[in-house]
């Protein structure tokens, strides 16, 4: 028999290791060649993520990035921390195992709309409703990129793709509505054309205790180019991006001329502020316990051709999954002996 390797003890993670050393973006860049298509929105998201990490106050060794399958899911290879590139759709489940095994880690899940809403939709729902301590970034380009251009669960109805030559029949899922429906405690949206907004959104999502869900609107310049051009291009933003600011009336447009009100029959609707009393505008409160209004906001722009809210839709506190039920360390052989001898036993001889 091969002798077992000499045991090496590792101090438990979470030990006091002094202040977190400062890092820069470069410290988070791995030596792996990034293999997305030139011009892909994923490059700017990766850059924003690596810019945000130094602000998160985390050590490189305490960060784990988990991906499933798809273009976005290759993300772990490019971040110089711990990373796991899993199988299609299962990243939230893999990440749940990691977060439960070591609650001191910062665990990120990165996936696309196909990975997290189609094959992995079930795992996403359950990670969110359990409130596992994860930061989930869904890059929504509304297309299957890595398999070269089929419609995805977020593709608009009627979309013509290789697998839907007569236009897709499926009604799309709205990622934020799905997340809110699963009672996610942190729900936000950002987009690949605004680094500062991405950095701030990622930072806030990471700071949240529990499951944080961020939809990142992302362009696929090969298979779905201009997916969000009507909203996120610099010239369109003023008219089309609705910034959500905690405690403020929801306004956008030139000089804040447009706003959002709650219509009891319709839900959230965009209005000209001039047409309503200013105090009729919906005041954004991400801390509302009831997700109803956040849900109404998530339905405001079913397709990327209408004014679209950006920012934090919901940020509430709920117990973090698995913390209260954390087991102790294995107590060892004596305790095992006590277990084996517990209950009814009898002795011979």
């Amino acid at each position: 028999m091969t002798p077992p390797p000499t045991p090496v003890s590792v101090a438990a993670p979470g030990r006091d290791r002094g202040p977190v050393p400062g890092t820069t973006r470069a410290d988070w860049q791995s030596d792996q060649e990034v293999r997305w298509c030139p011009g892909c929105g994923d490059y700017s998201i990766l850059a924003a993520f690596q810019f945000a990490l130094p602000d998160m106050g985390v050590r490189r060794e305490d960060v784990v990035v988990v991906g499933g399958i798809g273009c976005a899911a290759r993300f772990p290879y490019y971040v110089d921390s711990y990373g796991l590139h899993g199988i299609h759709g299962r990243a939230p489940a893999i990440a749940t195992g990691i977060a439960l095994a070591n609650p001191d880690l910062s665990v990120f899940v990165v996936g696309g709309d196909g990975d997290l809403l189609s094959i992995g939709g079930n795992h996403l729902l359950h990670a969110l409703r359990r409130n596992v301590d994860l930061t989930i970034l869904l890059f929504n380009n509304r297309i299957y990129g890595l398999t070269k251009g089929q419609y995805s669960p977020t593709s608009e109805q009627g979309k013509v793709t290789k697998s839907s030559p007569r236009g897709s029949e499926d009604a799309p899922l709205h990622p934020l509505s799905v997340a809110l429906g699963a009672d996610a405690t942190f729900v936000a949206r950002t987009h690949d054309m605004d680094r500062a907004h991405m950095v701030e959104t990622f930072r806030r999502a990471h700071a949240h205790r529990g499951a944080a869900f961020v939809e990142v609107l992302q362009n696929c310049n090969v298979f779905n180019d201009g997916a969000y051009a009507e909203i996120t291009s610099k010239s369109a933003r003023e008219e089309m991006v609705i910034p959500l600011r905690q405690g403020e009336p929801i306004r956008f447009g030139p000089d804040g001329s447009r706003g959002v009100v709650l219509d009891p029959d319709v839900g959230a609707v965009v209005v000209d502020v001039a047409d309503v009393a200013e105090d009729a505008l919906l005041v954004h409160d991400e801390t509302r316990d009831d997700p109803g209004i956040a849900f109404a906001l998530s339905r405001l722009a079913p397709n990327p051709d209408a004014p679209t809210p950006m920012g934090v839709f919901r940020a509430v506190e709920r117990p973090v999954y698995g913390i209260a039920t954390s087991p102790g360390p294995p107590p060892g052989r004596d305790a095992l002996g006590a277990l084996l001898h517990s209950g009814s036993t009898w002795t011979v001889g």
Binding site: R60, D62, G86, G97, T345
Partner: protein, 630 residues
Amino acid sequence: MLDDTDVTVGGSGGKPSEEVTGVVIRLAGDSGDGMQLTGNQFTAVSALAGNALSTLPDFPAEIRAPAGTLPGVSAFQVHIAGHEVTTPGDAADVLVAMNPAALRAELPKVVPGGTVVLNTDAFGERDLRKAGYDVDPRDTGDLEGFEVVEVPMTSLTVTAVKELGVKSRDAERSKNFFALGLLCWMYHRDPEGVRSWIRDRFNGKDQVLAANLTAFEVGLNFGETTELIPVTRVVPPVVREPGTYRSISGNTALSWGLIAAGQLAELPLFLGSYPITPASDILHELSRHPGMGVRTFQAEDEIAACTAAIGAAFAGDLAVTTTSGPGLALKAEAIGLAVSLELPLVVVDIQRGGPSTGLPTKTEQADLLQAMFGRHGESPVPVVAASRPSDCFDAAVEAARIALAYRTPVILLSDGYLANSAEPWRLPAVESLPDLRVGFATEPNHTAPDGTPEFWPYLRDPDTLARPWAVPGTPGLEHRIGGIEKADGSGDISYDPANHQRMTELRAAKVAGIAGTVPPVEVQGDAEDPEVLVVGWGSTWGAITDAVERVRAGGRRVAHVHLRHLNPFPPNLGEVLADAPRVLVPEMNLGQLALLLRSTFLVDARPVNKVAGQPFTAAELVVELEKILD
């Protein structure tokens, strides 16, 4: 199958008692009648009385199938003896039938001349019709040749229990305790053990507790006073090695083996599981032990259960996922990921009848080839099997040893029979259990061309070919792994053709190399010059052992090899097979091990197959052995 008897006077209530060396009792009733509870409790007191024993719970998949019908019959068979037993018995000496359906379904399993105890209150016209009897079997020749004991169990129970103020519908439900009392009297079981168990079990439910206790006492007293049972029976204790014993079922032993592995490896145990029959009891048992460093995660599905366990393994836990055949199919892709990631993972498959939903509560061994090959690509996985209920403990420890030392998923096979069957177990001394500590990587293991120390996640141990296990939280060893093919050593993504060939061969060589740490097979019976060698694996151990002994007692030379390790095979198996003139392979499938033995060793392995949802009886295997010896 009463063994020898020896009548003496004395025993319960001054009635004559006879000593028997062994007896097989079968309890049968509706699935809501509590037959499993009654059987388990009778087993427990028999274990405490020092008997050898083996049990066979046999229940339907429905929680409450239509009452009084044949599909609703739930049975429990126990073999108690004054000598070692390895099977629950070929047939029952005593059948307790709580209704006509139970009688009809179970009578064929009673030996000629056996005792049939009937609950006569359940033999009304409707009950008979539901069981498919046109005429009361007591009035036909059906019961001829049996010793029939007619007891109005329901009414005796209700009359006594109603005095406690219990409604008669609820009172009826205690009738299984009446049956338990009667059995305890018939076999001289210590009633105090049962009483204290009832008090414990129904603590806080005062009325149920009182009703069950009363029914139990009424059953005992009925035995004392009735003229129907003239002789009681004494089964003496078995002579055993000194030690502390307990009664244990396969699933409990397996759970405790996993808990043990956590202590022996000094790692937290992580179970990802999704409820499935007959594996759920492992999830239940492990959920009770957070104090032993156990975390259970009831996942949203089988795939999440497995992938969460993979995540926990990456983070440094001893990770386990438990399931049955359909769940193993769902986990296949994830197990392939674990093969590629080279992380430790124990996958437990409590096999049941298949394919598809199959026979959820019945036993089978038909997942062997799924365990071996049920993944895409060249995806070698070690396979370990348990052979008897108590062996599930050791098999779990062994599966964890291989998983940890070789950083590989390991499939541990048990089955529905082992899962629910119970036997006495001599408790191991905890100091004798193996050291499973493997240690995490803490330092860089490679130097970059520019002289910088770096960590290569796929740089292998030269002996085991295992890669280092560096867990998140360890500074300086940050690395990325994934399901894409990795460059040998660095672990970077690689599509290089020669590298894939090399990595595929390395993964295969790693698993093949485990054979070097596997003990050679021990040949039981006639190791020298056998006329036939019986090769088995898993839960057929008991029936094969018994059958081989019976045939040997008849003067034939028979050898028996029972495999714990199915992949890789033990190093000397080929030699042992080559030396045997005939090889017989009994399996509860259509010849899966036989196929592996034939293809691996070019040996004429002859399959003996049973896929009836029931284990082999020794008698069936005796017939097969005699056939091959003719």
